[in-house]
Symmetry: none
DNA sequence: AAATATTTGTACGTATGTATG
DNA sequence: GCATACATACGTACAAATATT
């Protein structure tokens, strides 16, 4: 699962989709810390701004919470 | 004082006028930091590009100076 | 306790693409 | 063609919170 640089789908949405899939598959389980922003930058090869945009989407979906200085963590499944 | 979306006056000029008025009234005093671009985005509800365009006008009028990574500041009154 | 490293937050600069009037 | 406006993406720098040594 990689980003298609030439897709009309914005990169940040593609990255969000990748992370979302990993959460839903359990690769990132509730309570797990996601890779840090610099780490995700390395993994996917895009700017921090783009990574942060992706994570912001996941926060808005209540899939993760971000704690300053700590990291971004997978939330417990609701319901 | 708000932006009229339907005015023939460009939005960026309207926003510039609002900020200019606040500077001239002393609400933003010399040395004060203006709200950041994202903050102004929230306040007025337009795109960053539009906010930046407004601030650019104030810079050209020497009303403010912008320091990268710091913010935009009201200049001391000249003469 | 103190210094350093890591991680997220904030802020501006720049460039490009799309759409509209 | 040009001006206006929004969206996306990358770059750079520094601050603040937290963790580590």
């Amino acid at each position: 699962m990689t980003v298609d640089q030439w897709s009309t789908e914005p990169i940040y949405r593609q990255i969000a989709a990748i992370l979302r899939a990993k959460i839903e598959s359990g690769e990132y389980a509730p309570g797990d810390k996601l890779p840090s922003e610099p780490r995700l930058q390395q993994e996917h090869g895009f700017a921090r701004d783009t990574i942060r945009h992706a994570i912001k989407l996941l926060r808005e979906e209540n899939l993760v919470v971000t704690l300053p200085g700590r990291g971004t963590f997978v939330r417990p499944r609701s319901q």
